[in-house]
């Protein structure tokens, strides 16, 4: 966030907007793309987002009976993966700030017949509405970059994590190889056009491209997690750093 003479502002893609407006603007973006969000993800990532999500799941070390928060869970990809692992003794909570996304995710999950251990809630990641020390694992995938105050979100996640639990942050990041970075930049220029074709809303995808560029790089995010209180923080670069999975642990009491 930057201090403006008039009021505090933050970035919304490349634009500077008042802090209070960002959540609404992000909400409009996801409301617009919710119905075809998964299809667009497949187009943008050439299908690899499914593998990356599975890889993230493997890093979650979930076991039967655990409770897990799928934060910014959107269309429910992760909840669908978590549910069979934690089993009926465990609990999955799909939380998202955007009602349209939660509706799509909830309908999709119910259509698959999974009703036993998944619940849904509208929640702002900056001030999660749960008791402290509630979850063995919190996962936020492709969501943190849209949060206005990332520090507050990490602090809130830390508070909700049980001692001994872990938080996983899957997010676009900075390619390690400059050549790959240039190729990726060239490819991502196409996303707004693809978004216009598929969802009829190129502007939302222009925001997605810009928000990825504005997101902190691997080391910066790792430091932010350390500052939030997490221990033994590490990250795994995926596909040469196009995405990164950060893991932070909450120390046992």
């Amino acid at each position: 966030m930057t201090k403006n003479t008039e009021q505090e502002t933050t970035h919304f893609g490349y634009r500077e907007v008042p802090v209070g407006d960002k959540a609404g603007l992000v909400g409009q973006v996801f409301h617009s793309v919710a119905q075809k969000y998964d299809l667009m993800n497949d187009v943008m990532s050439l299908g690899t987002h499914r593998l990356i999500k599975r890889f993230t799941l493997e890093l979650s070390a979930l076991r039967p009976g655990m409770s897990v928060l799928d934060l910014a869970g959107g269309t429910g990809d992760f909840s669908l993966l978590f549910s069979p692992i934690v089993g009926n003794d465990g609990q999955v909570v799909l939380a998202d700030i955007n009602e349209s996304m939660v509706r799509v995710g909830r309908d999709r999950i119910i259509d698959k017949g999974l009703t036993e251990n998944i619940s849904y809630t509208l929640a702002n990641a900056e001030c999660l509405p749960f008791r402290e020390n509630s979850f063995d694992c919190i996962c936020i995938a492709y969501g943190l970059r849209n949060v206005t105050n990332k520090e507050a979100a990490l602090a809130s996640m830390f508070a909700m994590t049980k001692p001994g639990g872990r938080v996983l942050v899957l997010e676009f990041s900075k390619p390690v190889n400059p050549l790959l970075g240039k190729a990726y930049d060239a490819y991502s220029v196409l996303w707004p056009k693809a978004g216009q074709l598929i969802t009829g809303d190129g502007d939302s995808y222009q925001y997605l491209v810009e928000s990825i560029r504005m997101h902190p790089d691997q080391e910066t995010l790792k430091q932010m997690m350390v500052d939030a209180g997490f221990r033994d923080c590490e990250y795994h670069n995926v596909m040469g750093g196009i995405c990164a999975i950060h893991i932070g642990h909450k120390a046992r009491a």
Binding site: E58, A61, G87, N237, G240
Partner: protein, 205 residues
């Protein structure tokens, strides 16, 4: 793509195949349910790889994971492990080609479940092409199977007759019987001769 992602991709493909098979057996959820929540750690020596098989209510998940969460661990080469898990090679454990630790009863149960996968192919086919065509295909297959069985039996009989009667390459059963009786008679006479020789010349054998 990094190595971890390749491993994940391979496991995802194997899991899709395995769960596709599991979904074809309507009784599978009730067979898997008692094992739900348990994990089999598979450590393959050739090629070197390891993964966890987590049993869920209706499926089995294959994931890279930590060894300490496993209910049981099994080690061996890929071929031995596949044979053992499919229940085709129960001798593998006795022959020390696999090493097992942890809850072996769970491993045995999982083996039983996977080996007794009962897929009703006719039902699956009927969902795609309908009941009447499935019946026609099924009858046709049964007819073909019966024809093949009879043809094989006829071929065996004809070959037998040709080798014994036409080419005289092998003796027939009655000739063999006569030969065996002659051998038996000879053996008895040799035994008697030996006994007589021993009586006539004691201490010389």
């Amino acid at each position: 793509m990094n190595a971890g992602l390749f491993h994940t991709a391979f496991l995802a493909a194997a899991e899709t195949f395995l769960n596709g098979l599991i979904a074809l057996d309507p009784a599978m959820p009730s067979k898997l349910a008692p094992l739900a929540g348990k994990t089999l750690r598979v450590e393959c020596t050739v090629p070197p790889a390891s993964f966890n098989m987590l049993v869920c209510q209706k499926s089995i998940l294959l994931m890279q994971g930590e060894a300490d969460t496993a209910t049981a661990t099994v080690q061996g080469s890929a071929a031995t492990l596949l044979g053992m898990l499919a229940g085709n090679d129960p001798a593998a454990q006795r022959n020390n080609r696999t090493a097992i630790s942890g809850d072996t009863a769970f491993l045995q149960s999982l083996q039983d479940v996977l080996a007794n996968l009962d897929v009703d192919w006719e039902y699956q086919l009927s969902k795609v092409i309908g009941d009447i065509p499935t019946q026609a295909v099924s009858d046709s297959l049964a007819g073909t199977r019966e024809f093949a069985r009879q043809s094989a039996a006829n071929m065996r009989d004809d070959l037998d007759a040709w080798l014994h009667e036409e080419k005289k390459l092998f003796p027939d059963a009655s000739q063999l019987e006569t030969f065996y009786k002659a051998v038996d008679r000879l053996r008895l006479r040799v035994d008697r001769l030996e006994a007589r020789t021993n009586r006539l010349f004691p201490g010389q054998h």
